[in-house]
Structure formats: structure tokens, C-alpha cells
């Protein structure tokens, strides 16, 4: 795994999509229903808008330093010491994200699939599987994510079967929720859409920088649509009250949809697999991002060696919360971190790059095209 691996531009969007779709997707409908009821959709759309804006910020920062990773330019912009601390913080952020996702995932898996298996075993197996892939580098991760994405799209075939049980009226009383609840709901939606910040780590590997923005936005919007679709389906087919009270409305929805087919009355087997794949890709990308960032911070060729130690740290953190409440507090804490990163650190870095006149201009492309045109009439 070299730090200068190449990444096809289309793979950037694939990685972003896989990072976003994971544990948040499954919990989102329930939280939205609980906090905002039918207005959850509106809160969600607002969150999508915010995430799009955030993605543009990431693209901006990445394009300012097209050949360098986060560790490099943060050191350049803020001096070696602060840059070092920032890098470490970023790594820690990713480790935290992985832990939080891992723990939430483990809780649910334990409850639905393997009631008596200890949490530790589930966590170690997942970390084992993800570490193998994370150690192999960016290219294999991108390729796996491509295939996992195709797998994630399989449920789309179930859409027609939702029509008989879908009730449009469920969305009706709009604009009824109070402001504080809306804000809470938007915030929840925001964290389940978080994931595009991997752009800061992998964006510099993309081979066609000019398409970066398009790819990143494409990824985020796709993930947004997908999650939004799930939320809408859940509201419509299970009713808002049911969605609010269930922990994992998506699974219930899948179990319940009247698929009049053949062998499998219960198509939920596939959906567990798909969901495990989505979480797997999220954790893999997270582990990779953390180890890669560390490698760049310490100017090493490859981050391979960091993966297992980071996985161990992830495991330890994931075992810390003792019960459901603490798990949720952990997730909430990670969302706050994400917000600080996105709306605090990234804009500051962008500003610094303009103030200290480091980095390449982002909008020069048009000019150079014009120059080229003038040169060759």
C-alpha cells in the first residue's frame, strides 16, 4: 500500500457512498420519526443541503492542495506542531467514528442475529475482516466498495412490492413540529449522512482532479437519495408511530413487505448481508483513512503497519460504553466532533491557505483553457 496509490475518479464517489451508507442509514428513520414525525422529511432535506455544502468545502480544501494529503498541508498551514496535532486529531476522529459505528453495529447484530454471542467476538471478527482489506491499500478498497455498492443496489428491486402497503397520507401533517425538535432531527440526519470527509484523505489520490467536485457531489447526492428513499419507505409502509418506536425499522420493513415469491417468504437474509456489507465498507474505509493519515503524518511509505494497532484501539473504545444510553452518547459525541471538523477546522484551513498564500488556485482551470484556446485558434 503506497501512499501515492492512484484512484480512478469514479472510485472517489464510490468510496464516499460506501462511507456514508452504513449504520446511520438504518437508525435514521426511527430517530427522525421520533423527533419530528412527518416533518422528518423536511429535516432530512435540510441536512442533505448542509452536507452538500460541507462536501463543497472539502473539495475546495482538497483542490487547493491537489498533491498532498491532510497531514501535509495542515502542517504547511499551521506550522509543524499544530499541524501534527491536527493530524493526530483527525486520525483520532476516524478511530472514534469506527468505534462508534462498530459498537452500534455490534449491538444490533447481537440482537437480531446472534443473541448469545458475546459482543467481543462479533467485534473482533468484524475488525479482523476489515483489517485484512484495510492493509491492502486504496485500490483494493475501492474495488471492493464498487462491488459492495452494486450489492447495496439490489434492494431497489423490491420497490414495486412496497406499493400496496405504502400510504401517502402518512406524511401529512407537515410543519407541525417545533423548532428545537426540527433542529434535533436535522442534526441526527446530519450525522447519518456524514462520511464525505474521507475526501480529505483520498481526494489527493484521484487521477482527474477536474472531476473531483462532480464525483464527490455525485456520491453524496446518491447516498442522500438512497437514505432518503429508505426513510420515505419506512414512514409510508410502517407508519410513523411504528417507525418511531422500533429500533431498526428497516429490518421490520423488509420482513414485512409482501413479496409474493417462491422460496423465500422472508427475504431478510439478504438484507442482513447487505447491511453487514455496508458497515464493513464504512469501517474499512475508516481504518484505512486513519492509518493512511498516520503514515502521512510520519512521512512513511505505507500505513500498513498502523492498521492493526488502530484496530486494537478501535476495539478498546468500542467496548467502553456499557449500555445503550452510553452508546448513543458516544454517537452524539462523534457527531459533535464531525461538526467541529467540518464547520470549524476545514473552513479555517481554507482561510489560512488564502491568507498565507499557500496552495494552488482552485479556479484556474477556466483561465488556462482560455489561454489554450488563444494559443491555438
Amino acid at each position: 500500500m503506497k501512499t501515492r496509490d492512484k484512484l480512478l475518479s469514479q472510485e472517489v464517489s464510490v468510496i464516499i457512498i460506501n462511507m456514508i451508507l452504513g449504520i446511520g442509514t438504518v437508525e435514521l428513520p426511527s430517530r427522525l420519526a421520533q423527533e419530528a414525525g412527518p416533518d422528518g422529511i423536511i429535516a432530512y432535506l435540510i441536512a442533505v443541503g448542509i452536507v452538500v455544502f460541507a462536501t463543497l468545502l472539502y473539495c475546495w480544501l482538497t483542490l487547493r492542495f491537489p498533491k498532498q494529503g491532510f497531514a501535509d498541508y495542515s502542517a504547511q498551514l499551521t506550522g509543524r506542531v499544530i499541524g501534527f496535532i491536527l493530524s493526530l486529531a483527525f486520525t483520532a476522529f476516524y478511530v472514534g467514528v469506527c468505534s462508534s459505528v462498530l459498537r452500534a453495529f455490534t449491538n444490533i447484530t447481537k440482537y437480531f442475529l446472534l443473541q448469545r454471542t458475546p459482543l467481543e467476538v462479533i467485534m473482533v471478527s468484524m475488525l479482523f475482516a476489515t483489517s485484512i482489506l484495510a492493509r491492502n491499500g486504496l485500490q483494493p478498497i475501492a474495488r471492493s466498495c464498487q462491488i459492495i455498492l452494486m450489492i447495496l443496489l439490489v434492494p431497489v428491486f423490491l420497490l414495486p412490492f412496497f406499493i400496496p402497503i405504502f400510504e401517502f397520507g402518512e406524511f401529512l401533517p407537515l410543519f407541525q413540529t417545533s423548532m428545537p425538535n426540527m433542529i434535533k432531527a436535522t442534526f441526527s440526519a446530519l450525522f447519518s449522512l456524514a462520511g464525505a470527509e474521507v475526501l480529505l484523505i483520498v481526494g489527493s489520490h484521484s487521477d482527474k482532479k477536474s472531476r473531483l467536485v462532480r464525483q464527490a457531489l455525485g456520491g453524496v447526492l446518491f447516498a442522500g437519495f438512497f437514505t432518503g428513499g429508505i426513510v420515505i419507505l419506512s414512514f409510508g409502509s410502517l407508519s410513523i408511530e411504528q417507525t418511531a418506536k422500533l429500533t431498526e425499522p428497516v429490518f421490520e420493513m423488509i420482513k414485512y413487505v409482501p413479496v409474493p415469491i417462491l422460496l423465500l417468504e422472508r427475504v431478510d437474509i439478504f438484507y442482513y448481508t447487505i447491511w453487514i456489507a455496508a458497515t464493513y465498507s464504512t469501517i474499512t474505509i475508516g481504518l484505512f483513512a486513519a492509518s493512511h493519515n498516520l503514515a502521512e503524518t510520519f512521512k512513511l511509505e505505507s500505513g500498513k503497519g498502523f492498521v492493526i494497532p488502530l484496530a486494537a484501539v478501535t476495539y478498546y473504545l468500542a467496548t467502553l460504553p456499557k449500555n445503550e444510553l452510553e452508546v448513543q452518547a458516544f454517537s452524539a459525541f462523534m457527531s459533535i466532533c464531525w461538526t467541529i471538523l467540518t464547520f470549524g477546522i476545514v473552513p479555517v484551513l481554507i482561510l489560512l491557505s488564502y491568507i498565507r498564500k499557500k496552495g494552488e488556485p482552485v479556479l484556474k482551470r477556466n483561465k488556462s483553457k482560455q489561454q489554450a484556446k488563444e494559443a491555438n485558434p
Binding site: G137, R143, L264, A277
Partner: protein, 522 residues
């Protein structure tokens, strides 16, 4: 060129002092006999030519019986010499050899050499060495002739529609089979000699204006690393030049079919043909390429797609079914439809083993049967297959060792596994299947999913000579994707698959090229 260095080393080790030929025939003969350890099939045919003006020329022909065709030796060497030299007026000097080589000998390839090791090597490969007394140069004449299997239908890759010839063990015949299909002057065949003791011939085949030069160079580079005594089969070469030797999945494709090789060459891939084996190697390869059978292209669109979809489905079923059975039966019985769940539960009444052991036992028995079926000759082999399947399975069920559902699962797995067109790939699946079963037995559906993801990750890591093994799905390449699970009709497949990065990517001639069409020749 042959491996002179190794041969010389051998000669030095055996303390050959003379590296060049002597002038006297009888010394040379004795030398050669010594070097070749007085092999009983070494034929030394001394002759005396009578030249005009009462001159005599002594000479000897040395060859190995069985490697050189005695008939050719007589017809192409001895007779012309005896005949033509009768009227040779010129003085006996160095020109005589030139005269012999150019005007007398009617055999195809004649070379002159004064090196002992060249001569020895030529004799070993089946040429005849012609020594003339008074000259320290030998003429080596190609009169190879030996017995070989006739061209038959392929043993491992049968098709219903399509050509039925397959490679045999003779390299130049195999090349002929390819050349007949690709009558393009740009088809390049490069000979390479590999193997210290075997001195086996290899041929690299590629089409110069389609295949990437980097690829060909990489192939040449890797072949240089082959450092074995003898190359008995292309498998030896494959295992040394492949990218990931430890993976159960093969990154080099092998085939017995010349039409498949020709198709691969046209796609910009490189073929490596090895003497003494009918299996040719194709690089680079992808998972998709190995799941395709040449028949997919010969049969019409609808039929081809039908078969392809079934093939992919079957591979997946073969891969996953036993583990799925274990996961559902032991961990998640609520996922069965109720009627099925009750049937399964009822059929497992009284079986003493847990589902995993049952599955393992059945799968291993199946592998045993399969291997046994290969070793046994003809009709017995087939009968054992049937006997094994039916009777042993039935007996096992009646004895209460396995449940009938398990037998069905295993049979389904086996049958679905046979659909995979390449034998090599089926090994990958057979081996990984056990891994999946293990994972499913520990953590149920979760374990199965994780195991599938690990396998996916592994496949994503594999590259074959620089090409991602999972092309065209990842990285996703829409033009190539149209030829993977479903094959687009011919008029849509205008470009060659891009994973080989061909120089000339248009498959079919455009208007421009039509004027260049060569006249038909048979």
C-alpha cells in the same frame, strides 16, 4: 536462443575440455559419444563420399534415433549428398560446407557451428549433425520427426457449438492451429528456451499492433525468472510467473482450445505456449474472462445470455449453498419458510451430528468421489460417480448419518460447480467454499457475510499482470460491462475489452479499413 550458460556450466562440470570441434571426424565422433554418455539411441552413421578425380570425403552423421526422422535423414541428407557430391569438381576446402548447406541439402533448416555444445544441443533436440573430415565445423540439419498424438477434441473444455480441435503436445503444431485462425502478419511468435536440463521450447504469441508492448515486455521479464530443471507442463511456468501464488484463485488462464487463444490474442492478451503440453497460458486474465466460455460467442444472443446468467447463478449457488444451509439450520431457522423449516427439522430428527459436521462430511465425500472419478479409467469412473452419488448417499441417509436435505444441498452444489468453464477457477471456488462453511458454522449468517466480504476483499486485491482481477465490475467500466454477465449483441461490441489497454481498440473494421482487406486465400 538456448540456455548456453547453463549448458556450458554442465559441460564444464563434466570436465569437457574441448569446446570446439576437432578437424578429424573420428575424434569428433568419439567426443560426441563421450559427451552423450554412449547413449544407446545415438546413431553414428559414417559415410564415404566418392568425389570425381579419385578424391574421397569421409563424413559422419550423428543423430538420435526417435528424435530425428530416419526417413528424412536418408531423404534430405544422405541421398542428396551422395547424389550431388558425385560431380563435385571444386577443390575440397571450406566452401564445401557452404555448398552442401545451400545447394545440396534439401532439408529445411541448416546451420553451421563450430561449438561443441551447440552441436550437442542440436543433436538433443532432434537435428542431425553432419561432420566432414578435415573441417572443424558441423552442419546441423533440422530433420525432426517423432510421433505425436493426433488432434482430438478438447478433454476439459467441451462445447456444443464451435470448433472441436484442441492443442496437442507439439509446439509447432499448436502454433499452426493458431496461425490458421489468425492469418495476420502482425501475429508475432517468439521462441524462448527454458529449463536447464529440459531445454524446453516456449513460445510467446501476441499481435503486435494490439497488445501493449509493456505487457509483452513484462511477460518476457517474468519468463526469465523461470529457473527449473525441466518444464513438464505450462503449470510449472504459470506458478512461477503468476502474481499471487498463494491465492486459491488463478490469475493466469489456461486453455486447450486454439479458438480461445486466438480470441484472447485479438483482445490484446498474450499467450504462452509450452512444448509437451496442450495447455496454453493466457495473460492477463480476469474473473469475468474465466467465467466465459468460447461458446458464448458462437451461439446466438438470447441463448448466450441465458447460459451466461445461469452460469453466474450456478457459480454463486455452488459457492454459497452449503454455508447458507449451515447458517440457517443452526442459527436462524426463522428465515426458512415455515413448511420448509418443518421439513428440514423433521428430516434432521435423529441425526447425531450438528449441521456443520454433516455438511463437512458430505462435502469431503464429494471431493473424494470427484478425485476418484478422475483417476479411474473410462467406464468405471463414470459408474463410480453414479454409484457413489446415489447409493452411498442413500445409504448414508438410511443409516441416519446425514439428512436427505443435506444430500440435496451437496448434489446441487456439485452440479452447479461443474458449470464453471475453467477447471482452474473451480478450484478456487471449491477451496473457498470450505472457508465459508467454517465461518458460517461459527457465527451463522454474520459469519457467512463476513467470509464473503473477506473473499471479495481478497479478489479485489488480486491483479493479473497489472489488470484488476475484478474488471469489468470494479473498476466499473461500462463498455466492458456489456460483455460480462450479459453479452451485448455483436453490433454493440465494437471495441475490444479495455482491461488489456489495446493499442488498436476497434474490433471491427471501419469503412477506412475495408479497402485493405486482403484477398481470400485458402
Amino acid at each position: 536462443m538456448y540456455n548456453r550458460r547453463a549448458f556450458n556450466k554442465h559441460c564444464i562440470e563434466s570436465e569437457a575440455v574441448f569446446l570446439k570441434l576437432a578437424k578429424r571426424v573420428h575424434i569428433n565422433t568419439k567426443l560426441i559419444q563421450e559427451e552423450l554418455n554412449h547413449s544407446s539411441d545415438l546413431i553414428i552413421h559414417n559415410f564415404i563420399l566418392t568425389l570425381p578425380h579419385r578424391r574421397e570425403l569421409t563424413g559422419a552423421m550423428i543423430y538420435i534415433e526417435g528424435m530425428a526422422s530416419g526417413q528424412l535423414v536418408t531423404d534430405a541428407v544422405l541421398q542428396p549428398i551422395l547424389h550431388e557430391m558425385r560431380d563435385y569438381d571444386q577443390p575440397i576446402d571450406a566452401n564445401i560446407l557452404k555448398f552442401l548447406a545451400e545447394s545440396v541439402l534439401t532439408a529445411s533448416e541448416v546451420t553451421e557451428t563450430d561449438q561443441l555444445d551447440d552441436t550437442l544441443l542440436s543433436i538433443m533436440v532432434g537435428k542431425v549433425a553432419l561432420l566432414i573430415d578435415g573441417f572443424n565445423t558441423a552442419l546441423t540439419i533440422d530433420v525432426k520427426g517423432w510421433d505425436y498424438r493426433t488432434i482430438q477434441s478438447p478433454q476439459t473444455e467441451a462445447v456444443i457449438r464451435g470448433p472441436r480441435d484442441s492443442f496437442i503436445e507439439v509446439l509447432n503444431r499448436n502454433i499452426m492451429l493458431i496461425r490458421r485462425r489468425l492469418r495476420d502478419p502482425n501475429l508475432v511468435i517468439e521462441y524462448v528456451r527454458v529449463g536447464e536440463r529440459g531445454q524446453n521450447d516456449l513460445a510467446i504469441a501476441y499481435i503486435k499492433d494490439i497488445a501493449q508492448p509493456d505487457l509483452v515486455q513484462e511477460v518476457r521479464k517474468r519468463l526469465e525468472k523461470v529457473n527449473l530443471d525441466v518444464i513438464l507442463d505450462s503449470g510449472y511456468v504459470e506458478q512461477i510467473i503468476e502474481d499471487d501464488w498463494w491465492s486459491p484463485f488463478n490469475t493466469i488462464q489456461d486453455t486447450e482450445r486454439p479458438d480461445e487463444v486466438a480470441a484472447a490474442l485479438v483482445e490484446g492478451r498474450v499467450a504462452i505456449l509450452v512444448d509437451n503440453t496442450p495447455f496454453a497460458l493466457l495473460v492477463p486474465t480476469t474473473l469475468n474472462a474465466q467465467m466465459m466460455s468460447p461458446e458464448d460467442y458462437y451461439v446466438r444472443w438470447a441463448a448466450a445470455n441465458f447460459i451466461r446468467v445461469i452460469r453466474f447463478l450456478a457459480s454463486f449457488i455452488s459457492f454459497v449453498t452449503p454455508s447458507l444451509y449451515i447458517a440457517l439450520v443452526s442459527y436462524h431457522p426463522e428465515m426458512f419458510p415455515t413448511q420448509l423449516a418443518l421439513s428440514v427439522a423433521a428430516s434432521r430428527e435423529g441425526i447425531p451430528f450438528p449441521a456443520f459436521v454433516e455438511a463437512l462430511v458430505m462435502e469431503i465425500s464429494l471431493e473424494l468421489l470427484r478425485e476418484a472419478g478422475i483417476r479411474l479409467p473410462g467406464p468405471i469412473g463414470q459408474t463410480i460417480g453414479i454409484v457413489g452419488g446415489l447409493i452411498i448417499g442413500e445409504a448414508a441417509v438410511n443409516a441416519g448419518i446425514v439428512s436427505p436435505i443435506m444430500v440435496i444441498v451437496v448434489a446441487l452444489t456439485a452440479i452447479a460447480g461443474f458449470i464453471i468453464p475453467t477447471y482452474n477457477l473451480s478450484f478456487g471456488i471449491r477451496i473457498t467454499r470450505f472457508f465459508l462453511m467454517l465461518a458460517a458454522s461459527f457465527l451463522g449468517l454474520y459469519g457467512l457475510s463476513l467470509a464473503l466480504l473477506i473473499v471479495l476483499g481478497h479478489l479485489a486485491t488480486l491483479t493479473s499482470f497489472g489488470v484488476s482481477y475484478l474488471s469489468p465490475w470494479a473498476p466499473f467500466n461500462w463498455p466492458d460491462f456489456r460483455d460480462s454477465i450479459i453479452r451485448a449483441p455483436w453490433h454493440v461490441l465494437k471495441n475490444r475489452p479495455s482491461y488489456t489497454n489495446p493499442i488498436d481498440s476497434t474490433r471491427q473494421p471501419t469503412q477506412k479499413n475495408k479497402s485493405n482487406k486482403r484477398k481470400q486465400q485458402s
